[in-house]
Amino acid sequence: MRVGHSSFVVLEDVDLTVAGGEIVAVTGVNGAGKSTLLSCLAGLHRPMAGTVAVLGGPPRDDAAFWRAVALVADEPTWYPGLSLHEHLELVRLTHEPVRGWCLPTDELIEVFGLAGRADANPTDLSSGQRQRLSLAAALTRPSRLLLLDEPEQSLDPAFRKDLAGLLREYAGHGGTVVMATHDLDFAAAAGARLMLIADGRMTRPGPGP
């Protein structure tokens, strides 16, 4: 596919197929088009040419599509007056009724290292804690495809390792992950297939020096 904005082309001749249960990490220099690619997969950006198929059909940007796809990109705007715990409850509520598939909110908060901050206002958290909360929100709801734009940003190395484990677990249950990342170690820890975007084209990176 070919993707661009009104005045310039970002991605040229991109061809990517991701199998179910697979984790794919897309890397590339700043401005290479990683986020644009994720936007296309989420149906938020239409390609100029070519086709996008997600879970067997075009990304329709409707309730059925978002029931299956979870996106973590920019930091969300937090509801003023709602605690960290309540934000996660809200996400679970928007996806009810769900049949036993996930941890209770309190346990999820613990897994994401946010215990003790459950009653905090999200804007009072550090940027790394807010990123953990965003990721927890994406993983507390049911989905078959996770789209993550630089999920490692602001996270400490220890939690990056934990997150890689969580993603492997998610994929182990049949979920698919496509993420943009600059952290090749994190991608390797998650067992991701690495793809490189350079000059608007997608390739498999060669062996390192």
Binding site: S7, D62, A63, E96, C102, L103, P142, Y170, G175
Partner: protein
């Protein structure tokens, strides 16, 4: 533990909203400040509209211009043009805000979910329609009030009062047409081309109304031809207008209802983020932040044709670097000829506003619009000042001292303010509302002083768009005071000119006084501002 799965079925949006409402802790001062703002807005609006609405009780029944006391045809035409211009302006503003938008938090947490898109968007769509109906109703009655003295009242309706049925039908007509136009904006929201076309249509309507009003003010035959049409209106024509408006609004509402489930999330998210920041800025009267947002929206995604920077430092080694820094605003403005064109057209506003509200083109309304317009023109040249008020990194990187930078950056707002004032005063003189031909010279003298107010507005600590804003309204008064301080500065700087406009005549001594006041205000402000830089 963490599993991929699919939800069994969609929950109801009402339940989610109820969850959020029950848990959000709003402090008492949130409600207090909202209530206070609403009461204040109603008082200000009522005060502004009381005089135009008063025309509904004015003398009538004679039709045409003959026998009308207290209202000139030109005033009615200018008033009607202002109503049309206000409607067009509100529509363009609504387009900039969406017009369909969620709160930023709702857009982040409810949009990209399994919730039914129509259910999520139903409430903001209803709010948009409701606001349009209310604003359109007021505009409809206002239009009737402008035509009031020239209407031919039906027999038995009372000697001096416009019949209630006409009032009701005007309100319905205005509400219907305005709601239809606003909902058309919602329909165009996903299509950039249609958005541009709608904006262009709004601009064309606004310019046409302005040109008509100026023609009406300049030539009596034009205004009389228009007011004679007012006299031909009767209950039947008001009813027809109302029916057409209701049908248009109903059709647009049905189309919007059908489109809601298919409205792209990306479009709603972008509009919601913009609207959220704009409303935050408006709530704290943060003009710099509003212009900041407008600029970002304008330049986003554009390819700019890079050109070499002029070698200003070679001409003036001492002040050159400061002018190199200040050139950013010159280049930016050069790339936006539409802004300059809009400023030129807006120079007609003082004459129209004065004529419409008070029936005379010189007076306090004209003076107030002159001051506001000159300050607005000046602020068009302060983008860079606004950007690095909190972060003078670029100035430091270039090794330019604060005093020279501020002085160099005041040149463009001074020129813009002076040019705008000169043009506005020239138009007032041209339409015969201000006697004499020297008024533009007075504008040129006042412009530099008004630039101080424009620069001060740009430098009064614009809040970071990424910030959530102050927590409590107790922090709001200082914000309001900084705006009031800037307006006061502009008022002092242009006082001799504004006083002459209010009086309707100018003395030779006014020119000298204006030059001196402008120089003292600008010089004094720059000296004080540099100390705090």
């Amino acid at each position: 533990m963490i599993a991929a799965a699919a939800a069994a079925g969609p929950p109801r949006v009402a339940a989610i909203r109820s969850f959020i409402r029950r848990r959000r802790r709003r402090p008492w001062y949130d409600w207090y400040s909202t209530g206070f703002a609403v009461v204040l807005a109603v008082i200000l609006l009522w005060d502004l509209l009381a005089q135009p609405f008063g025309r509904l009780n004015g003398p009538g029944g004679t039709g045409g211009a003959g026998g009308i006391s207290g209202a000139a045809p030109a005033q009615a035409v200018a008033g009607a043009a202002l109503v049309i211009g206000a409607a067009a302006g509100l529509l363009v503003l609504a387009q900039a805000l969406g017009p369909l938008a969620l709160s930023p938090a709702d857009a982040a947490w409810l949009l990209l979910t399994s919730l039914d898109r129509r259910d999520v968007l139903r409430r903001p769509a209803a709010a948009t329609a409701g606001i349009a109906v209310a604003a359109g109703g007021v505009l409809g009655v206002l239009a009737l009030a402008m035509a009031g003295p020239f209407l031919r009242l039906p027999n038995g309706a009372g000697a001096h009062r416009v019949p209630s049925a006409w009032l009701l039908l005007s309100a319905v007509g205005g509400a219907g047409f305005f709601a239809a136009a606003m909902l058309a904006g919602v329909l165009a929201q996903p299509w950039p081309r249609w958005r541009v076309r709608l904006r262009a249509a709004g601009a064309v309507v606004g310019v046409a109304a302005t040109v008509g009003a100026v023609a009406g003010e300049r030539w009596n035959v034009v205004s009389r031809a228009i007011t004679d049409r007012f006299a031909e209106l009767n209950t039947g024509s008001f009813g027809l207008i109302a029916v057409v408006a209701v049908v248009a609004a109903g059709t647009a509402a049905l189309l919007v209802r059908r489109m809601l489930p298919h409205l792209p999330a990306g479009v709603v998210r972008a509009g919601s983020a913009r609207a959220g920041t704009v409303l935050l800025a408006a709530a704290f009267l943060n003009v710099p932040l509003l212009t900041w947002i407008a600029e970002d929206s304008h330049w986003r995604g554009r390819r700019l044709d890079s050109r070499p920077w002029p070698r200003l430092a070679a001409f003036a080694p001492r002040l050159g670097p400061a002018f190199v820094l200040a050139w950013a605003d010159w280049r930016r403005l050069g790339r936006r000829p539409a802004v300059l064109a809009a400023l030129a057209v807006s120079a007609l506003a003082p004459a129209l506003a004065g004529a419409a509200f008070t029936g005379r083109a010189h007076g306090w309304v004209t003076a107030a619009v002159l001051l506001a317009g000159a300050m607005a023109a000046g602020t068009q040249g302060t983008a860079a000042t606004r950007r690095d008020t909190n972060d003078p990194a670029l100035r430091r990187l270039l090794g330019v001292d604060a005093e020279a930078a501020l002085a160099a950056r005041a040149v463009l707002p001074a020129l813009l303010g002076a040019a705008w004032l000169a043009l506005a005063l020239a138009l007032l003189a041209l339409t015969g509302e201000l006697p004499g031909a020297l008024w533009p010279v007075l504008g040129l003298a006042a412009g530099p002083g008004v630039a101080a107010a424009a620069v001060r507005i740009a430098r009064t600590a614009p809040i970071n768009p990424a910030d959530q804003g102050p927590d409590a309204p107790v922090t709001a008064p200082p914000w309001l005071l900084t705006r009031a301080g800037s307006v006061l500065l502009g008022l002092v700087a242009a006082w001799p000119t504004l006083r002459a406009v209010y009086a309707g005549h100018v003395h030779a001594s006014t020119f000298g006084a204006q030059l001196a006041v402008a120089a003292v205000v600008l010089g004094g402000y720059l000296m004080i501002a540099v100390r705090s830089a």
